[in-house]
Amino acid sequence: MSSLTARVIKLSVLRALALYTALIAMAWCALFPILWALSGSLKNQAEITEPVLIPPHPQWANYAEVFQLMPFWRMFLNTVLYAGCVTAGQVFFCSLAGYAFARLRFRGRDVLFLAYLATLMVPLTVTVIPQFILMRTFGWTDTPWSMIVPGLFGSAFGTYLMRQFFRTLPKELEEAAILDGCSPWQVYWRVLLPHTRPAVMVLAVLTWMTVWNDFLWPLLMIQRNSISPLTLGLVHLQGQYASKWPVLMAASMLILLPLVIIYAVAQRAFIRGIALSGFGGR
């Protein structure tokens, strides 16, 4: 090999090195707050100020203390309940409506869909107050209903997602089913739904994350600890024990953990969802 080639190889090694350095630096920026919080959660009060990443004597007791200072399991179950109900409802009703918009002809369908799209543009701040008043009128303030019902029947965004997806499925699938005598419901339930897994996954993951991380709405609606979701619990904890950093960090880690697991498992669906939507976490 000529010296020219040798020089080229050296350059490409340098390039690779520079790229990896950049990547590591970026990864550090993305991770350090979380890592720092993790390490803080394992220190005791005095060690907090020490800039060691791995504490010498991990204080797992901090995590135990979280459960003493706040009704963690209760709140965890609450959050799971809210997220689960809304996700299930979203997936079902949005896919149903998405199918209808994509494949069933009825009068006013397209105008209606345009109206749906228009609502996507409305910012949260405009609707949050009237939604609050609605909940109050129904008598649902400080009840689980306020957390479940508004999202239960789906949303414009979810329907948009599902409709776009249904349009990509081949028409032959349902034409064959219709010829076999299936009713529209059967076509939807038996024939098409099994093929919508990717879109459903995306919608489910996005919805779950959104509900799990929701803060403003629970803040407005819920007073009692017994039905609070985790986000609310964390902020209340901070309000009461503002200086107990180790415990606060431990609580943060505990809330973070389920989502990180879901993220690790469903990462591809999640990223695809982000790329498809405009509605990733705020």
Binding site: M1, S2, L4, T5, R7, V8, I9
Partner: protein
């Protein structure tokens, strides 16, 4: 304008069991139009890309002119490439597409404009200069891709299957345009295609590749008449040469019940042999191997008949493949009839029945 040389050039992909390109030795003369041809996976595109600098060279040397460019960046090689999918910049106009390389090289604006106009005139693109690729037809896009290469006045043109995305009629038209353009400009050109008709009609010389190995590099005529092995013989020419693997008995082989004598040097060396006869060298005659005509292809100016041997001697391995013969369209036999095909003496090729398939003389 320069010569191009591949010296033992090799490329191996990670995890592949054989090299994509295995020790290619090839010299291309100044101003020559060389075609690299072969089936997919044969290494022709790889060689082109190695020449362009888009693919690393694992072993061997690549020269342009006398310069060793093996490790050099594409921009230091003074070569221009026409891509299969044209690779036109969608957000730039035709003029900007063609002038991009010159802009990068900091050529004066006035000079860029002149050179772009010259190339546009050469390719009849003057009307398209302000349009964007999405507004052009396939043929126009292809010409823009060529214009982009021409404007740079490089030492070598590289073309990677530039006609494969055009429809059949356009392909024939453009083929002649490219060939005459190259003659006009006199630039050394390396042209990759999988279509042996393009190879035959366009190249000064044609290099046939298979599985990363160069089979034969010669003028089209020589490749056709004097193939070096059974692969080249079967690859060049359409319809393909008839090939029969036949056992040798008494210094001859039997095609059906027609005997073909084998030269002694060949008969002494092996128990069987591959016999090759081109369709145009089979005459419909009273004597010869008898076939039953299954398909007649009447192409207007020519006709081909496909049939199978009637006298199915159990030791021929041709029972599954039909025999092709060219006939005069005026006297083409009908389907179902039986005719005798007589091979023209002196136009029978013999190849070893061996993986190399080398031609036996």
């Amino acid at each position: 304008m320069a010569t191009v040389g591949f010296e033992q050039a090799s490329r191996r992909y990670h995890g592949a069991d054989r090299p994509a390109l295995d020790r290619l030795d090839l010299t291309i003369g100044d101003g020559e139009f060389l075609v690299l041809v072969g089936p997919s996976g044969c290494g022709k595109s790889t060689s082109l890309r190695m020449l362009a600098g888009l693919e690393t060279v694992d072993d061997g040397v690549i020269r342009i002119g006398a310069r060793d460019v093996t490790g050099a960046d594409p921009k230091d090689r003074d070569v221009a490439m026409v891509f299969q999918n044209f690779a036109l910049y969608p957000h730039m106009t035709v003029a900007q597409n063609m002038g991009f390389a010159l802009k990068v090289a900091r050529v004066r604006k006035a000079d860029i404009r002149d050179r772009v106009l010259d190339a546009a005139r050469l390719l009849h693109l003057e009307a398209c200069l302000d349009r964007r690729p999405k507004d052009l037809s396939g043929g126009e896009r292809q010409r823009v891709a060529m214009g982009r290469a021409i404007v740079r006045r490089p030492q070598v043109f590289l073309m990677d299957e530039p006609l494969s995305n055009l429809d059949a009629k356009l392909r024939v038209q453009t083929r002649t345009q490219i060939a005459s353009l190259q003659r006009q400009l006199g630039t050394t050109t390396v042209y990759v295609t999988h279509d042996q008709v393009e190879a035959m009609t366009m190249g000064d010389r044609v290099a046939v590749l298979r599985d990363g190995v160069l089979q034969q590099c010669a003028a089209p005529r020589e490749l056709y008449r004097d193939p070096i092995n059974v692969f080249v013989a079967g690859f060049m020419g359409s319809p393909a040469m008839n090939l029969f693997t036949l056992p040798i008995l008494n210094q001859s082989v039997s095609l059906g019940d027609w005997m073909i004598p084998i030269p002694r040097e060949i008969a002494d060396t092996a128990p069987d042999v591959v016999v090759g006869i081109r369709p145009e060298h089979l005459e419909v005659d009273g004597l010869g191997a008898e076939i039953e005509v299954e398909v007649v292809e009447d192409l207007g100016s020519d006709a081909f008949i496909y049939g199978r041997l009637v006298a199915g001697a159990a030791n021929t391995t041709t029972a599954d493949k039909p025999i092709v013969a060219r006939v005069d369209w005026r006297s083409a036999p009908n389907r179902g009839t039986r005719v005798h095909l007589r091979p023209s003496p002196g136009h029978i090729y013999f190849f070893a029945n061996h993986p190399t398939g080398i031609r036996l003389r």
